[in-house]
Amino acid sequence: MLSTERTKTNSNMIITISTSSNHQLSSSLAETIANNDDLLTELFLCMPIKSLLIFKSVSKQWLSLITNPCFSYRRTPIPKSIVGLFVYNHLRSQQYDFINLTSSDLSDPPFQPLTFLNNSILQSCHGLMLLCSDNYCQLPTHYETNFGLGMFWNGSLHWISLWEGSLYFDVDEEKVHDLPMSDTIDVHYRRRFRYFGESRDHLHLIEIYGPCTALFYVYEMERHYSRWMVKYRVDLLAVAVAFPEMVRSHPLDIRKYGFLILPVVREEEDEDSYFLVHIPNKPMRYNFKDKSFEKVHEFAPVGIKIEVESTLEYRWSHAFQYTESLAYV
């Protein structure tokens, strides 16, 4: 029997529940839930992607709910949060390493190893990865542009060039347009891109000139392609104080700091946005808003003294964002 008491205090009811009552069989209740599509969908929305992939094989009803496109969209709305990076280690293993950005458990890649990758990742975008096999088709090169790394943003593919000829291809229009580049750089320096990439529907570019490479801007392209505007001001001097291994000692070296930039990551709240700075043996997370920084990961030492950037393992052009998705291709 149930024993539910109710007393009145200040017009609010206090309900005291005794737990000594008899229970219904939980199996029949569970069965009821398992047959209720609405409730199951609510449950599935809380589940990790990996569990959902396993649960597809529970029953036909479950398979149909999980593979329903409406469900995929609700479970992973766009834009999605980046979970980690696949980075090509060109120094040591000649393989893709995984940098986990969501968990402190660094040795926990989503799947390992990437045995299905015979060759390389060409690009990743919104949870899809473009892989390259032995037989690939060469893009036409009518322009003096490096077609190696196209960035998809704003319905178009973008390529940047060290010389004239940065451009974008509007996928709907099927037309090629010029991509305006800033012309404010000092003529004494050769153009040098330090980062180019998309995050949360924003296109970013970083170019660093002058001897003090620890101070620079992150640029963002205006939606109507009028100009690259300054989005963030970065100051890595405090990072160099905390991690002096990124300071170069050679007196003839005009660039005083050794680091590479891995992705600029925009978050839902702009104040949470950050980028990864790769300094010797570790990637650092640098928050744009408060200029704070923290170590994300520690790689095993390379064994040689870092004097030039080529001895850092990972390049921005070989770092691919990984987001979880139920996209069904």
């Binding site: 209740l29 929305l45 809380c46």
Partner: protein, 172 residues
Amino acid sequence: MSTAATADASSSGDTTEGSVRLLTLQSEDGEVFEVKETIATQSVTIKGMVDDDCATSTIPVCNVTGRTLAMVIEWWNKHEIGAVSNEKELKEWESQFDTIDDKSDRDDVYDLLMAANYLNIPTLLDCCTSAVAEAIKGKSTDEMREFFDIKSDFDEKEEDALRKENQWAFEN
């Protein structure tokens, strides 16, 4: 029959206490509860009835037992604006729903989940689904079938194909 100590559970419903309107809810097993309208309208279903002027007499809450309805009302009281002084206290109170290891906890959460779905109470639904999701997230296909008492309707070949398609998820 349950011993719901309803002070003046009349069938007329729609009583007022001060300026606050009271609604009368009747559970599936006949227990009657009087609840302030401002609290009960945390249920989207009940709010719809109030807005449509359909809440003037006793509201039957089918599919929900008196025991569960009492828990739902406790939830409403805790989540009434100003009822709990801080967020931390509320989270602590909610944490009792997080662990559903033993059978009686599980039954409570299942009951609440069904009630939250039927009455459309988003906060309670979120809390219960998270608790169940937490309990089942690491489970295998067979464990899930056992947990929810489901019989597979795939033949062996279909099931193998599904496993193969999502092979990485089944590893480690």
